[in-house]
């Protein structure tokens, strides 16, 4: 049980990658990429968890109460922002693919090759 969250992170990552590889729609691809990204949230936050620890916020609990690691929470915040921005950029590209190339199937967007 004590390694399950980490194994879960690995599983989510590979599921997301599988979705990206087999995708037939760019929107589906973007969402699968977001799924793969969420595996890193799981990993980071699991690494920082302390048994019986509360949030690292001491507004209503006395200082010195057991709390989880605040650093990974800051790292995950950055990670989420990165995830959102990349999803936004890819979705903008998807819109343009639909408008200009008339398709959102990644397998058909291969103007350059060789």
């Amino acid at each position: 049980m004590s390694y399950l969250p980490y194994a879960l992170a690995v599983w989510i990552f590979l599921c997301g990658l599988y979705g990206v590889v087999t995708s037939r729609s760019l929107v589906h691809l973007v969402v699968c990429l977001a799924v793969a990204q969420s595996s890193t949230y799981v990993l980071l936050l699991s690494v920082g968890y302390v048994n019986g620890g509360g949030a690292p916020i001491f507004a209503d609990v006395p200082k010195g109460t057991r709390a989880v690691d605040p650093v990974v929470q800051a790292l995950t915040l950055t990670d989420v922002v990165v995830s959102v921005t990349v999803a936004g950029l890819l979705l903008a590209l998807t819109i343009q693919a639909k408008k200009k190339a008339r398709t959102t199937d990644p397998d058909e967007l291969a103007a350059m090759h060789g």
């Binding site: 049980m1 004590s2 390694y3 399950l4 969250p5 980490y6 194994a7 992170a9 690995v10 599983w11 990552f13 590979l14 990658l17 599988y18 590889v21 087999t22 990993l43 699991s46 690494v47 920082g48 968890y49 302390v50 048994n51 019986g52 949030a55 690292p56 916020i57 001491f58 507004a59 200082k63 010195g64 709390a67 989880v68 690691d69 605040p70 650093v71 990974v72 929470q73 800051a74 915040l77 950055t78 922002v81 990165v82 959102v84 921005t85 990349v86 936004g88 950029l89 979705l91 903008a92 590209l93 819109i95 343009q96 397998d107």
Partner: protein, 241 residues
């Protein structure tokens, strides 16, 4: 490369990668057994050193504040990038119509949007005291505008978010963060060194420059998300008309 070859290649590689990654996570401390110094030291010393009660905010805006500068500009640059990618190269944008028919929807929606805006500002302001902060609150503030679009239609949304104003707000937020860091340098300390009165922990007047950085990032994040929504909603409006 045929699709079946691709899936086969991926399947074999993913199996190997899974084995490797599972092998590696077996070496981590067990879940809940985090015992390193970095987190413990910060939890112990941040409230007394910086007079804030939300240690995550202290990490985000002070201890690792330079990362947040980069993160802000990631959002800023990405939204500029989306504006670049969605620009109309040779076509004129068609005028969007107003879709909302119901007055009740309009009334309730605008009311809730106003409430949401206040909630967002509250989350921003209390970011270094209780859970929240510039990023979280900024997203809530931007979603108030999105609710306005849903309730009152595109024209109202567009009227309240003029492009130059939003650009100005976003760049002031992002640039303001850097300027605050420079102020620290002008005061003879390192870039982004905390300055200003540290105040009383648990009140809004605490944290020194953490409070200013909080506001700057809230400004930047809300403007960036409003711009993001504008870009995509313009596409939606163009499709519909």
């Amino acid at each position: 490369m045929s699709r079946s070859f691709r899936i086969g290649l991926f399947g074999a590689s993913a199996a190997a990668l899974a084995a490797l990654m599972l092998w590696s996570v077996a070496g981590l401390p067990a879940f809940g057994q985090y015992h390193h110094e970095y987190g413990r030291i910060l939890n112990a010393s941040a409230p007394s050193e910086r007079h804030v009660t939300n240690v995550v905010a202290a990490v985000v805006f002070d201890y690792r504040g330079f990362d947040t500068l980069g993160e802000e500009f990631i959002l800023f640059a990405a939204v500029m990038g989306i504006a670049l990618l969605l620009r109309e190269v040779n076509e004129r944008r068609p005028q969007p119509r107003d879709d909302v028919g119901s007055d009740a929807l309009r009334l309730l929606g605008v009311g809730f949007a106003a409430g949401l805006l206040v909630l967002g500002l509250y989350v921003v302001a209390h970011g270094y005291l209780t859970p929240g902060g510039g990023f979280q609150g900024g997203v809530v503030v931007a979603s108030a505008f999105l609710l306005l679009y849903l309730a009152a239609g595109y024209r109202a949304f567009h009227a309240l978010t003029p492009r130059s104003g939003v650009d100005f707000a976003g760049s002031t937020g992002a640039g303001g963060y850097a300027v605050i860091g420079i102020v620290s340098m002008l005061l003879g300390a390192a870039f982004l060194h905390n300055f200003g009165p540290l105040g009383t922990p648990g009140t809004l007047a605490s944290g020194g420059s953490i409070a200013f950085l909080n506001v700057a990032s809230a400004l930047e994040v809300s403007a960036a998300f409003v711009l993001l929504y504008t870009e995509f909603l313009e596409e939606l409006a163009a499709v519909r008309s």
